[in-house]
């Protein structure tokens, strides 16, 4: 079992994200951002881990050190780093806010606001997810109103909007392939939007039709195989889909007992998958010992069903929901509804 550190932060944590590493650097990122939700005053915080020597001396512990924070009344529903200096937040009042982090000064300042880009004028609805368009600093936002907006930093109004993108809530976005946006919805559908054509209809729609009602909570693409995506579902199942095959997912495994809030591949070691769940568990899936059968990734083969994938729960005693997790190099950070941030250190990755 890997070592871990916990910090009780006094607010429920909805999202945690590592700051991107310097291009070409092997040093792991030591800054991460967290967002809070369901509070009277919510905050976006920047943390440093490992803490500076001075802070570690004072506190006597190796806990994440708070660098700076910004507050506001709306819940933070999603958080993405546009680049090393800019952070975008999806807010529950239908707005998207961008902050700029200055490392030297250690401050977080408000740069840009797109107010009420989701919902109707007098009844805004929460903006639920954000994606960064590959190769640019443009933001795609999806909300409970089923709308997709494309926002540019230098423009006050949304650059483009797909008003009827979905009939239900858009829960997750992935924009890692240029001009293609994957949007998952709470009706169990994954839509592929091609931004090169006028986007009145999605290029493709893939739907999980497993019998009972399923809602997809998040989508994440495999870093090396862009046609492979993993979907986390509300009934605890994990769905691996080869986008080239529209009819059915490649595999659907019933993993957790409650909603899988996030499922993501490690950016540098794609044989490692991390999922976090409403029941308080944080699973680390290790498929490195599975031999990929030729072209097919180890995730698409029936390895999971055969039990060849190692799974470790890093938080066996946690009971409150783990809402978000992120990993950049070796440290896995996660935030829970128990108002705690856990950092699991020095994971064994092959």
């Amino acid at each position: 079992m890997a070592e871990w550190v916990v910090k009780y932060v006094g607010h429920k944590v909805s999202k945690v994200r590592w700051r991107p590493q310097l291009a070409g650097s092997i040093d792991p990122s030591d800054i991460f951002a967290s967002g809070s939700w369901d509070d009277v005053v919510n905050r976006v915080c920047i943390w440093r881990f490992p803490a500076t020597a001075k802070a570690a001396d004072e506190e006597g512990l190796n806990e994440p050190e708070l660098v700076c924070a910004q507050t506001g009344p709306a819940d933070i529903m999603d958080l993405v780093f546009l680049n090393r200096d800019h952070l975008a937040c999806a807010l529950s009042d239908g707005s998207v806010a961008v902050f700029s982090y200055k490392e030297a000064a250690g401050t977080l300042s408000h740069v840009r606001d797109w107010k009420k880009v989701h919902g109707q004028k007098d009844l805004p609805s929460p903006c639920t997810s954000l994606g960064v368009l590959a190769g640019s600093a443009n933001v795609v936002s999806g909300g409970e109103d089923g709308r997709l907006n494309i926002l540019r930093l230098d423009d006050q109004r949304p650059y483009a909007t797909i008003a009827t993108a979905d009939s239900s809530t858009i829960t997750g976005l992935d924009c890692s392939i240029p001009s293609e946006v994957l949007a998952s919805s709470s009706n169990g559908m994954l839509k592929v939007w091609d931004l090169r054509k006028p986007p009145s209809k999605p290029a493709r729609i893939l739907a999980i039709e497993s019998g009972d009602y399923t809602s997809i909570n998040g989508v994440s693409r495999h870093p090396n195989q862009p046609n492979l995506v993993v979907l986390g579902c509300c009934d605890g199942s994990l769905c691996f889909w080869d986008l080239r095959q529209e009819k059915m997912p490649a595999s659907l495994c019933h993993a957790h007992t409650l909603d899988v809030w996030e499922a993501k591949f490690h950016r540098s070691y794609p044989d490692q998958l991390f999922t976090c769940c409403q029941d308080g568990s944080l699973w680390h899936w290790d498929a490195s010992s599975v031999e990929g059968s030729g072209q097919r990734s180890s995730w698409l083969s029936g390895a999971i069903a055969c039990g060849k994938v190692d799974i470790v729960n890093h938080l066996p005693h946690n009971t409150l929901s783990v809402n978000s997790c992120d990993i950049e190099s070796r440290h896995l950070v996660c935030g829970t509804d128990g108002e705690a941030i856990f950092v699991i250190m020095d994971l064994n990755l092959n």
Binding site: D39, M77, S92, D145, G146, S168, P202, C234
Partner: protein, 671 residues
């Protein structure tokens, strides 16, 4: 800053008015709300004054004035108290799990748990101190409240520690005194600064507090530190014999550590030997030269007069320091149940004369007396948060020392206190999962509280609603789960988001609502001529089986798809299946049949004889209705549509007959 301390409706003649108790700093006001009205909102109250209505129109609900929102205990929440709540929740759950195990909670588990709670409490105190010092000068009232909280939590830590020592620790003989000394040392004001001052003074023994420090350290059992301070005395070099003698005495003092080997008799013997030596040296006059040392020796001998001497008393900050010091030198092998403890405590309390008996002292005395009920009652009354009594009583309850004390309402004390605690954390909008979980450990009343509480949690976003739903499922609150889904579905429906509404009714398997939504989709189809939310309808899958109408909707959409793809035979088959399977509401039969018309007219045959007969059967059922409505249509203005209907009907008959003849010819065996 004004806080709402209490609220209650009036009674008797003033039934419609509300009585409010407000707290501003340390002042309390009671206000009768004559013209003021109050409305519950979430977990607070909105208050407004009706006397500001416009004069002209007394009946109008026009209002001009301030609306004030009041919330309970909003000042008690800060990052330190929230950490306390969250961390102690984790340990509370572990305690309950251990207690639910086959053997119940073992003593070592209870002690460990108690230490965790104490550690969390201590962390909270430190955090509050940090926040208080970090608060800038403007927010003076805030700082005061942090300082007040800090003192309150320190007091709680003190009491908890004593209770842990007296009731939870399983100590071998002779160890109680060590634990009590530890207790005093941990909670007394730190003396490092004083020690530093004394050391750095040119003439240490001239320092006014030199001897106080020596006495204090001795009473706290910090013998080595006492010896170190004594060695600073200049006489220690000049007339070494006196000081050496005292140093030797102190060095030889037997420490009652829990070696586990020594029996009570042995420990007693070694202690009595040592005390005998002290008395010998005192009587010999070893310390006559230095009166303070003489006093110290008398203390070591356990002389009552010496122990109550003015300078000894002055060296203690608190009465319990004196008490433990006295016990150390008079009866070190004391057990917690010995009467000595209480007698000494009362004596020391009397000496300190703590101004009419502060509540804290009463509580500590109850703890020493073993009067747990009184202890809990006093704590509940004086400590303004329920955290302390709820958790302490839970540990007591699992250790079994708390006899089942039935309150008038008939449920156990610990459950009552947990309920109060859970109710108190309800006042914060974020802590509802923790409140719900605490309630789940209250077997009698918890469920009732849970069901009422969960319906009042505001559902601000879909994600939150899903989490509330999961909580309902976890605690088997089926009705409330349905309510949550219905609320979200209705909300979506009212803002025109039929897809979201449908997804919520599918989540809760609410057939009735799903059926009415399906009808709405149909109505919109009939008025718009096309379907909304095609993506949802196309991928309903087997979820459509929830309700007949929904299944019909899904299948009808499939019909359109097949038709659009040119798969006419399949489309036709589907159409007939729909009618035959009885899932089509009657009012849509006409629409279905009208859809069949182009298929009937197709060049290639779509329907066979059976299917044609089926279609005819349905049409015939419709026609008498059509003709009936013709009679009534005499008064109808909208005769044109009736004519249109009639036209359609006759067209259909024609098409059906033609198709039938075609089908019969096809089916007839070739001659």
């Amino acid at each position: 800053k004004i806080e709402l301390a209490g609220l209650c409706p009036g009674w008797g003649k003033k039934k419609n008015r509300w009585i409010m108790a407000l707290q501003e700093g340390t002042q309390f006001y009671i206000r009768q709300m004559r013209t003021m009205r109050a409305v519950w909102k979430d977990f607070g109250v909105v208050v407004y004054d009706t006397k500001n209505k416009s004069r002209d129109d007394k009946s109008a609900k026009v209002y001009s004035g301030a609306i004030v929102e009041l919330q309970w205990e909003s000042s008690k929440w800060n990052s330190a108290t929230r950490k306390l709540v969250n961390q102690s929740y984790v340990h509370f759950v572990r305690l309950q799990e251990a207690a639910a195990g086959p053997n119940g909670a073992q003593a070592d588990v209870l002690v460990k748990c108690s230490r965790h709670f104490r550690a969390i409490l201590h962390e909270c105190v430190l955090e509050l101190k940090k926040i208080a010092t970090a608060t800038d000068g403007d927010a003076e009232a805030d700082r005061e409240s942090y300082v007040y909280q800090c003192e309150l939590f320190s007091m709680m830590e003190l009491i908890w520690h004593l209770c842990e020592i007296l009731y939870l620790e399983v100590l071998p003989v002779g160890c109680l005194i060590q634990q009590l000394l530890e207790w005093v040392r941990w909670h007394s004001t730190p003396y490092e600064q004083l020690q530093h001052d004394i050391i750095s003074a040119p003439c240490p023994e001239e320092h006014e507090h030199f001897w106080h420090l020596v006495y204090k350290l001795s009473l706290q059992g910090s013998i080595r530190e006492a010896r170190d301070v004594l060695r600073l005395h200049s006489f220690a070099h000049n007339s070494p014999k006196v000081f050496e003698s005292m140093d030797e005495l102190l060095a030889k003092m037997p420490m009652m550590y829990s070696s586990g080997m020594a029996s009570k008799a042995e420990l007693l013997r070694s202690w009595q030997e040592w005390r005998g030596e002290c008395c010998r040296r005192r009587d010999r006059g070893d310390f006559m030269l230095v009166p303070e040392l003489q006093l110290l020796c008398q203390v070591l001998c356990g002389e009552e007069d010496a122990l109550l001497d003015k300078s000894i008393v002055e060296s203690c900050d608190e009465w319990y320091e004196l008490m433990v010091g006295q016990l150390l030198f008079t009866s070190p092998l004391v057990l917690s149940t010995d009467y000595d403890v209480v007698a000494t405590a009362e004596k020391c309390l009397g000496v300190f004369d703590a101004g009419g008996g502060a509540v804290r002292d009463k509580i500590l005395l109850s703890a020493l007396q073993g009067d747990i009920m009184n202890l809990i009652t006093l704590c509940s009354a004086s400590i303004s948060n329920w955290w302390f009594v709820a958790h302490l009583t839970t540990i007591f309850h699992h250790s079994g020392i708390l006899l089942a004390s039935q309150l008038e309402y008939g449920f156990k004390l610990s459950e009552f206190l947990i309920l109060e605690y859970a109710s108190s954390i309800m006042s914060h909008p974020s802590l509802w999962p923790i409140a719900l979980d605490y309630l789940s450990y209250c077997p009698t009343q918890g469920r009732h509280y849970q069901s009422m509480y969960v319906e009042r949690i505001p559902l601000t976003s879909e994600r939150k609603a899903i989490k509330v739903l999961r909580a309902c499922n976890q605690y088997q609150l089926k009705e409330e789960a349905k309510t949550v889904c219905r609320v979200m579905a209705m909300r979506a429906y009212r803002s025109g988001r039929l897809g979201v509404a449908l997804s919520w009714s599918l989540r809760s398997k609410d057939a009735a609502f799903a059926a009415s939504l399906a009808e709405k989709y149909f109505d919109s189809y009939q008025s718009l001529g096309e379907f909304m939310d095609l993506d949802l309808l196309d991928h309903l899958g087997s979820a459509m089986l929830l309700s007949n109408k929904l299944a019909f909707l899904g299948k009808y959409r499939e019909f359109h798809r097949l038709y659009g793809n040119g798969e006419f035979v399949a489309a036709g088959q589907l159409l007939v299946q729909l009618l035959v399977s009885n899932i089509v509401p009657m009012k849509f039969w006409m629409t279905i049949l009208t859809d069949a018309l182009p298929l009937l007219e197709l060049e290639s045959q779509v329907f066979n004889t059976e299917q044609t007969y089926a279609l005819a059967h349905f049409l015939r059922q419709l026609s008498p209705i059509a003709s009936q409505s013709l009679d009534h249509a005499a008064a109808e203005q909208d005769t044109s549509s009736q004519d249109g209907n009639n036209n359609k009907v006759s067209l259909l008959w024609l098409a059906l007959v033609r198709n039938l003849s075609r089908a019969m010819l096809e089916a007839a065996p070739s001659l």
